[in-house]
Symmetry: C2
Subunit: 117 residues, 2 copies
């Protein structure tokens, strides 16, 4: 086992959040994300074409879905499905330790737009 | 957040390994697996059509790939890609605590066999 451990291998220097692809095919992308107190800039939203599933492995985070008033707080082991085009923001991530996520982006069904991939 | 936490929610009674689907589409299946000292029966091998990626979240396990003499020992945070049709066995899982895995089964490319799915 020479692969770096996904809970423990953290870059010493991070200029921003780290997005590390683990698997990529025409239908899915699995990535590890490392945040250090990062949040989505004020007024900005993620709006993604693909479905997304996330699990928080370490640290903590608060996510907000557009149209909701209550944040979804994630602790290690919590997972969340973010439907395609559900606008959302990361309001905060842990200020003390790194937050490590796995994010799986995937197509829920065959999509005629994918022919070029 | 009413979803059960994936690190903590463990059934009290398990008759065998627990395979809990989290996402299923025509191209991928993500599942949580809970093992309690389970192993693949002697002489048996897994041989799967789809690619597989696993991460061990809790506990520990030893996997053997056919044709190799050395087991791959997984600790929390270790991940492993198991190529399509790579025969493999779970030689052992932790005898003291539950072993929790995430397993992602996926197609690496468009496959003419999938039309019926």
């Amino acid at each position: 086992m020479n692969r770096p451990n996904l809970f423990e291998s953290i870059p010493d220097v991070m200029e921003g959040e780290v997005f590390e692809p683990l698997i990529q095919t025409s239908h899915l992308k699995l990535e590890r994300i490392i945040s250090r107190g990062h949040a989505t800039p004020p007024g900005e939203w993620y709006d993604e074409e693909m479905e997304e599933w996330v699990i928080l492995l370490k640290g903590s985070a608060g996510l907000l879905f557009e149209g909701e008033t209550e944040m979804r707080v994630l602790r290690p082991g919590d997972d969340l499905h973010i439907p395609s085009h559900q606008r959302h923001r990361v309001e905060w991530t842990d200020s003390v330790e790194e937050t490590i996520w796995l994010a799986l982006h995937y197509r829920s069904k065959d999509n005629k737009d994918e022919s070029g991939l």
